[in-house]
């Protein structure tokens, strides 16, 4: 079952289409990363899902409810943390928790205390006096203590120094492991997300480039290095390369490419057919490398289409 489903979700700001015909499904219990470069439409998508913006066309269902009809009953099961959200900065951490608590019937005081300790948050300090990392933790705490069914986070690591970012990720991983929630996290900090995500959706220029489990994604992407023998014969020019081979480059006797449809059984043969007598090494790729490859490819495609 999907916690989030969108169909042709589109949002226009004047002539600019921030999100274009997005069809996205986030399975229940997954930790889904919504990745994309700046301006890809990640934050807009999250705001559409949280009913902070209304779609220009298309629709989204969150927890089985049309996003435009999300009300208190649904928000009691949703946690939303955003770098842009204006928290009541005049409150102390404790006052923020005291304020939020009565709105949630499922608020877990024990979890609140546990997270407070785990996040090392000073309860009596005003939010306005907290560092950015602490502030995100406080926001996260106020969104986790009622054990939401869905936790949506919009660029939670933005502007944080590496140490704090690492702390926050660790905390999230610990919390995710303990809970039974679905997490949707939008970020361009792929390395941080990679550690916890199990489903990846990639947005580019408002369009969905891909959406699949992280494991499957990493399984099908390989950075391939092909060393050609001196007398090796290359595939005749004009023979089309497989569509899944991206960013192919040749220098002297070496060919490098990214295979986006790698298969342990079939790819080896394919390489050998195209580059007979060559030695082939296929390296697994990180999400970051996959993301960069796809982003560059999409940008080149877009330039080509524009040309």
């Amino acid at each position: 079952m999907n916690i989030i489903e969108t169909h042709g979700l589109t949002r226009r700001f004047g002539r600019n289409e921030a999100v274009q015909g997005l069809d996205l499904a986030v399975p229940e219990g997954s930790v889904c990363a919504l990745l994309g470069p700046n301006g890809a439409g990640k934050s807009t998508t999250l705001k559409l899902l949280m009913n902070l913006l209304r779609p220009t066309s298309g629709s989204a269902r969150v927890l089985g409810v049309d996003s435009r009809k999300l009300g208190p009953a649904e928000f009691a099961r949703i946690g939303y943390v955003s770098e842009n959200q204006k928290l009541p900065m005049w409150m102390t951490v404790r006052q923020l928790l005291d304020y939020c608590r009565p709105f949630y019937p499922t608020w877990d005081r024990a979890l609140e205390r546990q997270l407070l300790a785990q996040f090392s948050l000073p309860g009596e300090r005003r939010l306005s006096h907290l560092s950015r990392g602490m502030l995100m933790k406080a926001a996260l705490l106020s969104s986790l203590a009622y054990r939401p069914t869905l936790l949506a986070m919009d660029e939670p690591f933005s502007g944080l120094d590496p140490l704090v970012r690492d702390e926050l990720v660790r905390s999230l991983i610990e919390v995710s492991a303990a809970g039974e929630w679905t997490v949707l996290i939008s970020s361009h900090d792929i390395e941080e997300v990679e550690r916890m995500t199990d489903h990846v959706a990639l947005l580019d220029s408002g369009r969905l480039a891909l959406s699949e489990p992280a494991e499957a994604l990493q399984a099908r992407f390989r950075r391939v290095e092909i060393d050609l023998e001196p007398d090796a014969r290359e595939t005749a020019p004009g023979v089309p390369m497989p569509a899944g081979w991206l960013e192919m480059q040749r220098s002297a006797r070496r060919v490098t490419l990214v295979d986006s449809a790698f298969s342990a059984r079939e790819s080896e043969g394919l390489y050998r057919r195209h580059f007979p007598g060559s030695s082939v090494v296929a390296h697994p790729m990180t999400l970051r490398e996959i993301f960069l490859t796809l982003a560059r490819t999409h940008r080149q495609d877009a330039k080509g289409a524009a040309a």
Binding site: K47, M50, L52, P72, A73, F75, K86, C100
Partner: protein, 562 residues
């Protein structure tokens, strides 16, 4: 409800520091008022300084109050996508309820609580306290409504201030343009047939409330702005198209009179009617009709006040014409007592009373002194109406039916006040003290400090409007003579419904008739042993009267004869 109260508590905590500042302004005002009352008003310069101080405090109070509305609404903004509350289990309706509750506390209960010690200090009792509470709460309503409206359509203080500037500039200009373009609206007091402001005052706040509710419930700014523009246009259109049926009485609610006994002995007689025309300042001709009536069996020592006069003309074919069908015609009552002889008895009082306090669309007034022996009262009514009303009246013989309603008042003398410095008089929340007496030629000048519960804000700018309706009379019982006061200098200030006035009143040595000559009484001995008297109006009974005039045949107005 519990969660609504939870939000209210949060908002109050948030506004706490500003509320303290607000409270300090109230406190400063009350301290100044208490000092003024305790030490006496002293002199004009001193009073002026107090007056300027209270104006500054009033300005501060309204400015802080107005900014409080922005702080309150922007605490949970309704515009933008970064607010905290929309992604929490808080509905727009709950937030609206909470904000309304906070407004009630902050702009209703808080000022009342702050003013209560001051009111008690000023001697307010069970009668004045509710009225003062309504008054102080009501005075906040319009700025709060505008503030909440602008704040709910803006997300930041900068935009709020820009929106306020827009309201302050655009709305008066738009209304002025509307009034200029509206043919029936003139500056003339009598052209009341379709005066639009009563509609505006009635519907504009409702339209504002609708837009606020819409924005809270939907958070759709563009649509709320569209609703605002549409409702503003609808209100202006309604004002332009729907004639106003002005209430027959302004500030004299009928239910106040309901408890009075009915005096059914009196009767009205028609005397004569005149017909003419009058041009308004904009050049438009208006039909002018004057009718005079006399009253029989009026109880002695009572003055007459009309609350309602209804004129209806009827033709033989059954058609009727009345102020409702042509807008409310203006009615004025003039009291023409016989010219007095200036040898009044010692209990002679001079009085002035304005019923409608200069209201724009109705200013019924009964002028002149009342003399106990007088019973030959004559009232003159006149109507100025649209030209078609005049044409209809000239179209054929008609009968006129007139209904009168009103009440009688007696003048009750308050306990006398010794004509000496420091003597004072108290009557509930009202108080009066003579702070200084001095001679100025043949006149005796009194400095009088006065305090009164006064609901009319204009008293600060025009202290004579009502507070001075009670004239003073110096009475020399030994000589059987009275000296009426003349207007001197008067200033007033207002601290939360309490009007404090400083008056300089002149008592002229009286004249009396000897044969056919006015003779001035010797001064200064006349004031020795004299006392100062004031009188108070009390409603004693009400009346209704009907007169039929058939046929209604007005003569050409002799005042307009070429």
């Amino acid at each position: 409800m519990k969660l609504t109260l939870h939000i209210i508590r949060k908002d109050l905590r948030r506004l706490g520091s500003v509320l303290v500042l607000w409270a300090l302004v109230y406190l400063a005002e009350f301290v100044a008022g208490a000092r003024l009352l305790h030490e006496g008003i002293g002199n004009m310069y001193q009073f002026d300084r107090y007056q300027i101080f209270t104006w500054i405090m009033v300005g501060l109070k309204y400015a802080i109050g107005y900014l409080l509305t922005a702080a309150l609404i922007h605490e949970d903004p309704l515009v933008g996508t970064t607010a905290f509350w929309p992604t929490r289990p808080i509905s727009g309706a709950r937030l609206l309820g909470a904000k309304a509750g906070t407004c009630l506390i902050v702009f209703g209960l808080f000022p009342i609580a702050m003013a209560l010690p001051w009111w008690l200090y000023c001697g307010y009792g069970l009668h004045e306290l509710p009225l003062a509470a309504i008054d102080i709460g009501g005075s906040q309503a319009l700025p709060v409504l505008i503030g909440v409206l602008v704040a709910s359509l803006t997300g930041t203080l900068g935009r709020f201030l820009a929106g306020t500037l827009g309201v302050l500039v655009f709305v008066p200009v738009a209304l002025w343009c509307f009034a200029e373009g509206h043919p029936a609206v003139t500056e003339d007091t009598f052209a009341v047939a379709s005066w639009p402001w009563p509609h505006l005052m009635r519907y504009a706040p409702l339209a504002g409330l609708v837009v606020i509710a819409h924005q809270f419930l939907t958070r759709r700014l563009a649509r709320s702005l569209a609703v605002l523009v549409s409702l503003a246009a609808a209100v202006l259109l309604a004002c332009a198209l729907v004639p106003v049926n002005l209430p027959p009485s302004g500030r004299q609610p009928q239910d106040v009179l309901a408890g009075l006994p009915v005096d059914d002995r009196i009767a009205f007689d028609f005397k004569e009617a005149f017909e003419g025309t009058v041009n308004l300042p904009n050049g438009a001709p208006q039909a002018l009709y004057r009718e005079t009536f006399s009253i029989r069996n009026k109880p002695k020592d009572l003055t007459v006040h009309f609350t309602k006069t209804r004129f209806e003309w009827e033709w033989p074919d059954g058609t009727r014409l009345n102020p409702t069908s042509y807008g409310a015609a203006y009615g004025s009552a003039r009291f023409h007592p016989p010219r007095p002889v200036m040898d009044p008895p010692w209990d002679w009082y001079a009085r002035v009373r304005m019923l409608a306090r200069g209201g724009r669309h109705r200013s019924d007034a009964t002028f002149g002194p009342f003399y106990g022996e007088s019973d030959g009262s004559v009232w003159e009514f006149y109507q100025e109406a649209l030209p078609e009303m005049g044409a209809r009246l000239r179209s054929g013989p008609a009968s006129l039916q007139v209904q009168f309603e009103g009440y009688f008042e007696s003048w009750e003398a308050l306990p006398p006040l010794a004509l000496e410095e420091g003597s004072h008089l108290e009557n509930g929340a009202e108080g009066l003290r003579i702070s200084r007496i001095r001679w100025d030629g043949d006149r005796r000048q009194l400095d009088v400090d006065e305090i009164e519960h006064h609901p009319d804000y204009t008293v600060v700018f025009n202290p004579w409007t009502d507070i001075s309706a009670r004239w003073f009379t110096a009475v020399n019982r030994a000589r059987g003579e009275a000296a009426a006061s003349a207007r001197g200098y008067s200033v007033a200030l207002r601290i939360d419904t309490v009007a404090i006035a400083f008056r300089r009143i002149e008592l002229r040595v009286p004249h009396h008739m000897e044969g056919d000559k006015w003779v001035q009484t010797d001064s200064p001995d006349w004031f020795n042993g004299a006392i100062l008297e004031r009188s108070l109006e009390r409603r004693v009974s009400r009346f209704k009267g009907n007169v039929t005039v058939s046929p209604f045949a007005p003569r050409p107005d002799p005042d307009q004869a070429p």
